[in-house]
């Protein structure tokens, strides 16, 4: 007993003196989870990307605002030679964190590594690159197999690794039986960084300590009108594990920024605190309901449209998302303004529940559907109905809506539940069925054995190549991206054209056309695009840069400076 | 006490042997064989009360359980009315058990606490499909009355915990008797009861024998009880028969040193004749002689270190029906005679 008391007393006395100097000018960021790995080739999760994007830099990056690609490690736009199908990129004289120069050989090495190992998540961007060569130390030439719009948009945004660090590792991996597996299992203690920060120490599960990279090219540089720093000495990523702990830490000032979405419930708690600023930014995300067009009942366009009419996206956004989101009418989210289709689909007008049922009823009646008891009485009032009958007189069988489980995404699971209720209003017996993510993908992508599902992509690339990938006929096979089995020759033609079109304006036009087709045929019903709500303290640091994807971005961390420090000061 | 009619044995044990494998923990003491019974041959005559006397662990209870088929003998055979019941199973076992029943030692344990007295007593009728419900009830009531639980209606609908020990033991007798068996094994029926109840139970057993001519095999540790009830007795020690014969003969003229030791040790209350003391026990005990010798060798004051250690004596008749298993029966010392009346030992 006394032992217990002793421990409690010991523990109750607050730990060591508070006045410490070490964290002067060090930004403290709260994260929910630690990076899974600092091996660029393995890490696919958001938490790893938070850190890795500060180490491995790209040739071009999107700038805040219009999201246009601007040169980063490159200087000037890539030079395209249509004759040879080649791009030439000039490099900035930059240095790695160990002081060695960043050269064209690093770029070549990275590209070849991806091609050699077929590194997942990168290879598809490099598979159409025929050759990569260094023209001198500061110029790279890429030769393509075919013109592809995603080259400039995505391939050139590949993070680049240091050749001297990775070359021996690659050699070792190639010598093993399973080179890719070996590559993914490499763990680097000190990844060489060409970015603003470099790893100092990492205590797994607790914190990562990053310090300013003295060799970062951006120091003192003003890029796109933005004075780059970094103006802070370092960053500590603190792992909290639960959002309640992180929010509490933010309130107490133990962290300056919580790099994650703030759940609506906490907003009221932090709203009254003048030291905390809340940012709302759009995401490049798509949350949608998908239909199986390969089999009844959703092979029928009228039924899909009726369902689209019944789904009250506004309700989902205000209630389920607590207003932290926007209704989505077309595939490309509004944040990605360039490719966004600004045209509201007929079912996305503001309608009351009754009106929605009424309209769905009309659509179905027109298509020849009947009921045992109709959903509207003769006076046009909604009534409980039963048993939707197809034009051929057969019953629409009970169907299931697959959703991710609540632990993975409670909002989608909840949306599924609501949709189930709404469909019931016109006599469609639907049951939302939450399913482990893998199992659900297996059913949807692997076996095409489903009626409808609710899914989402939280971090879509800004280049809309995926719009075509989701619906072209050639992707409709097993495990292909065309999950709903949409098939339209006109769409296929548009998609093919778009892939080869390098002119942005023309390409945009094609992408918008494709989106219109999807709006018309409803293979997917876009539901909502959540807003990213983030909170940061303004008492120690200022200068957050809002952009799509939130304030936690490379620009912010390069520009952030201690409160009170003159903005013009350039080191 | 009238002598039971001499007749053919109704039940016979021939060379019965039984071993147990002792259950030890892993390692020590496990897997050793313990002999519970060795070469036991006995005859029980119709209508007699036969006493099986011995200390705890002597194998007398095992013997009783073997007789009712609760245990299987490893050697030897069991004959009921001349018919061998070597492998008792299924129907033959059931038929056998209609003839051979048992009363257990502990009346607090031998009745299912969850069943009413009626259900417990009627069970043999149910399992043997005798009569319908009404007939069974009548039969149960009659039997309860016969064992002195009267009026039977008062007892039939109670549960065991509402009865005293003596009443429970009567219920157990009623259950055993309801099918009218030919043989009844009574395994220490009174050892858990107070004296006044045990006398009641003895009386019921005597009455049963008288009325139904049932053969009763009384298993007991008390020579006094055996003397009171039994026509013939057998003394058993460590699974072997030491001495058997008419009860009076064995108790008044014991010939086996073990029997003599038992009689020495039994309190002689109320016995106002001359007291003999045989003094056949040796103290301290000798080391074991191995399995070959006499079972009583370790404690026997008369034993010859040579012969008794090596060779187990056979049961040999002394007089008609009085058999003793000892090499030195004839050399037994004459008992010393004590005071006239052993009351208040400290005198």
């Amino acid at each position: 007993m006394t032992a217990l008391l002793g421990v409690m007393l010991l523990a109750l006395s607050p730990p060591a003196a508070q006045a410490v100097e070490w964290d002067q000018n060090i930004l403290k960021i709260g994260v929910l989870e630690e990076p899974k790995s600092l091996n660029l080739w393995l890490a696919g999760d958001a938490w790893s990307n938070h850190v890795l994007q500060l180490f491995y830099q790209q040739l071009y990056v999107n700038r805040p605002g219009d999201l246009k690609k601007v040169p980063w490690l490159a200087t000037g736009d890539p030079q395209y030679d249509p004759q040879t199908l080649s791009y030439t990129v000039d490099l900035r004289p930059a240095r790695w964190s160990d002081g060695s120069p960043f050269t064209a050989h690093d770029v070549v090495f990275t590209g070849q590594l991806i091609q050699k190992f077929k590194v997942p998540r990168f290879y598809s961007l490099w598979s159409f690159v025929k050759s990569i060569e260094a023209v001198g130390d500061h110029q790279v030439r890429f030769v393509l197999n075919r013109p592809d719009a995603s080259f400039t948009a995505r391939t050139l945004a590949t993070p680049l690794v240091q050749k001297t660090q990775w070359e021996p590792i690659v050699k070792q991996c190639l010598a093993t039986k399973k080179p890719l597996a070996s590559l993914l299992r490499v763990s680097l203690d000190h990844p060489a960084s060409s970015g603003p920060f470099v790893l100092k120490s990492w205590r797994r599960g607790v914190f990562l300590h990053l310090e300013r990279n003295p060799h970062f090219f951006g120091q003192g540089l003003s890029l796109d009108g933005r004075p780059l720093g970094p103006h802070i000495e370092g960053i500590v990523f603190k792992v909290y594990g639960t959002s309640d702990a992180a929010i509490l830490a933010l309130r107490k000032g133990s962290i300056d920024f919580y790099w994650n979405n703030v759940q609506p419930g906490y907003l009221r708690d932090i709203a009254g605190d003048p030291a905390i600023q809340v940012f709302r930014n759009q995401k490049s995300a798509l949350y949608f309901m998908g239909f199986n067009l390969r089999r009844p009942p959703f092979d029928d366009l009228a039924l899909r449209r009726a369902v689209a009419m019944l789904v009250d996206k506004r309700f989902i956004v205000t209630r389920v998302l607590q207003n932290a989101g926007e209704v989505m009418s077309a595939l490309v989210p509004a944040g990605n303004a360039f490719y966004h289709l600004d045209q509201v689909a007929p079912y996305d007008q503001e309608l009351t529940r009754g009106q929605r049922v009424q309209k769905a009823y009309e659509i179905l009646t027109e298509a020849g559907y009947t009921w045992k008891t109709r959903p509207m009485d003769h006076a046009g009032r909604v009534q409980t109905c039963s048993c939707l009958l197809r034009p051929d007189g057969s019953e629409v069988p009970p169907l299931t809506i697959l959703t991710p489980p609540a632990d993975y995404d409670p909002q989608r699971a909840m949306s599924g539940m609501m949709i189930q209720e709404w469909l019931g209003q016109v006599g469609i017996m639907a049951a939302a069925r939450p399913m482990a993510f893998g199992a659900m993908l297996e059913k949807v992508k692997g076996h095409h054995d489903y009626d409808a599902f609710v899914l989402g992509y939280g971090n879509l690339s800004l280049d809309p190549a995926w719009v075509s990938a989701f619906f072209v006929s050639k992707n409709a096979g097993k495990s292909g991206w065309n999950m709903s089995g949409y098939h339209d020759p006109q769409f296929d033609a548009l998609a093919e054209k778009a892939a080869k079109t390098l002119d942005p304006e023309q390409r945009r036009d094609l992408v918008l056309q494709m989106q219109r087709m999807v709006q018309r045929d409803v293979p997917f019903l876009p539901l909502y695009n959540p807003l990213l709500v983030e909170a940061a303290r303004n008492d120690r640091f200022q200068g957050w840069v809002p952009m799509v994807g939130g304030i936690g971005n490379l620009w912010s961390l390069c520009q952030l400076r201690p409160s009170g420090a003159p903005a013009a000061e350039v080191r | 006490m009238e002598q039971a009619p001499q007749s053919k044995p109704i039940l016979e044990l021939r060379g019965i042997g039984k071993q147990y494998r002792s259950k030890g923990r892993l390692g020590k003491g496990g897997g050793q064989t313990v002999v519970a019974l060795s070469e036991v041959s006995l005859e029980f005559r119709a209508g007699e009360i036969f006493g099986l006397v011995g200390e705890s662990g002597s194998g007398k209870t095992t013997c009783g359980r073997l007789i009712v088929g609760l245990e299987k003998a490893d050697q030897g055979e069991l004959l009921l009315e001349g018919r061998s019941y070597g492998t008792l199973k299924g129907e033959s076992l059931r038929a056998y058990r209609r003839q051979v029943q048992i009363i257990f030692q502990d009346p607090y344990q031998s009745l299912n606490p969850q069943l009413s007295i009626l259900d417990s007593v009627a069970e043999p009728l149910v399992t043997n499909r005798v009569g319908d419900n009404k007939a069974r009830l009548e039969k149960v009531l009659a039997t309860l009355k016969a064992v002195g639980l009267s009026p039977p209606e008062d007892y039939a609908f109670r549960f065991p915990h509402q009865l005293s020990g003596g009443q429970r033991q009567r219920v157990a007798i009623a259950r055993a008797m309801i099918l009218g068996p030919k043989v009844l094994v009574a395994d220490e029926p009174t050892s858990m009861l107070d004296a006044s109840y045990s006398a009641q139970i003895f009386d019921i057993l005597l009455e049963v024998r008288q009325r139904l001519a049932t053969t009763i095999i009384l298993i007991t540790h008390s020579l006094a009880a055996a003397r009171y009830l039994c026509d013939r007795i057998a003394v058993i020690y460590r699974g072997r028969l030491m001495e058997t014969g008419p009860a009076d003969a064995v108790i008044s003229d014991p010939r086996h040193p073990y029997t003599q030791a038992l009689i020495d040790a039994t309190p002689k209350f109320g016995d106002c004749g001359p007291i003999k003391r045989y003094g056949t026990l040796v103290s301290p005990e000798r080391p074991a002689s191995g399995s070959a010798g006499c079972a009583f060798f370790r404690r026997c004051g008369l034993a010859h270190l040579g012969r008794c250690a090596r060779q187990a004596p056979e049961l040999t008749p002394l007089t008609l029906g009085h058999l003793v298993a000892c090499h030195y029966t004839q050399e037994a010392p004459a008992p010393e005679t004590g005071q006239a009346c052993r009351l208040g030992g400290m005198g």
Binding site: - | S196, A199, P267, K268, L343, G344, M346
Partner: protein
């Protein structure tokens, strides 16, 4: 002066159904070197008396009337501490060993030494230990057994150890509660003989509690027969056995088969003893009495004297 005097002792237990009068108006005395046998069937109150003598009545039990005196000293008024000093030093107990009187997780030798040390705080462990060795020799246990645990003992050995423990502090009185009940006859006989010898040697007063009249007959000088919480007859062993006066005593004697002599039919006592809750007027045995029927139901019977030592609680016996 008698070593122990018990006068008009009454003990009741509180139960849900009311007060159970387990012992009612019991008197007896024991002198040094003499033994008294308390005999009766289960539930007659004999164990309760034993426990009361040790001051160990269960929580719901209470002495309601009477007096207990040890060498003239009143025991009922003792404080808890005084009781503690009295126990074992003056009055010890032999328990029935089969009922786990020994702590299973302590070495037997240590349990005996513990008793010695408690009452002789000045003693060193070594001295206590050598005393225990002496006790072991006294009761015929081998010294190797000192460090064994109870489960390694046979029944007879446990009983001997319990006797050794009772002798540990040279008590003046020993209460032996059914000390041989679970033992085989031969061992029982040995233990009884040894008890007698020890009693003689140390001049101890013994109260021997048993349900088995034949054992008491072996050991005791005096006998008190108990029935339903009352003492119904008392006298020297000889008197009680030869000239039993109370019908219950006679019935009890008649229900034990004897080993020698003539085979006589047993006389079972019919019926059941009464429940001891509530008012019990008249003779408690009369419902079962084979001799005087229901005549004495109303009036409480009076003690009748037959000799200086022989009394019976019956109005009709002669």
């Amino acid at each position: 002066m008698a070593l122990l005097e018990v006068e008009n002792l009454s003990i009741g237990y509180r139960t849900k159904r009311g007060v159970l009068q387990a012992v009612d108006n019991v008197s007896f005395s024991v002198e040094a070197g003499r033994s008294l046998g308390l005999v009766g069937e289960s539930g007659c109150g004999k164990t309760t008396i034993g426990m009361a003598l040790m001051g160990l009545l269960p929580r719901n039990g209470r002495v309601t009337a009477g007096a207990m005196r040890l060498m003239g000293r009143d025991m009922l008024g003792l404080s808890r501490e005084q009781w503690r000093g009295l126990r074992w030093k003056e009055i010890a107990m032999i328990f029935q060993a089969a009922m786990n009187a020994l702590n299973p997780v302590q070495r037997v030798g240590q349990q005996i030494a513990e008793a010695i040390l408690t009452h002789n705080p000045g003693l060193s462990r070594g001295e206590a230990h050598s005393q225990v060795e002496g006790l072991y020799q006294l009761v015929g246990l081998s010294l190797e057994r000192l460090r064994d645990y109870p489960h390694q003992y046979s029944g007879g050995m446990k009983q001997r150890a319990v006797i050794a423990m009772a002798l540990a502090c040279n008590p003046k009185i020993i209460v032996a509660d059914e000390p041989t009940t679970a033992l085989d006859v031969i061992v029982q006989d040995q233990i009884l003989q040894e008890t007698k010898a020890l009693q003689k040697e140390f001049n101890i007063g013994i109260i021997f509690i048993s349900h088995d009249i034949s054992i008491v007959a072996e050991v005791c000088h005096h006998i008190a027969i108990m029935y339903a919480g009352q003492m119904v007859e008392t006298g020297t062993t000889d008197e009680v056995f030869r000239e039993a006066k109370h019908p219950y005593t006679r019935a009890l004697l008649g229900s034990f088969p004897a080993l020698g002599g003539e085979r006589r039919p047993l006389r079972p006592i019919p019926g059941e003893p009464p429940l001891l809750i509530g008012q019990l007027a008249g003779c408690r045995f009369c419902d079962r009495c084979p001799e005087h029927g229901h005549a004495c139901k109303l009036d409480p019977p009076q003690w009748r004297r037959f000799s200086d030592t022989h009394f019976a609680l019956c109005d009709h016996c002669d």
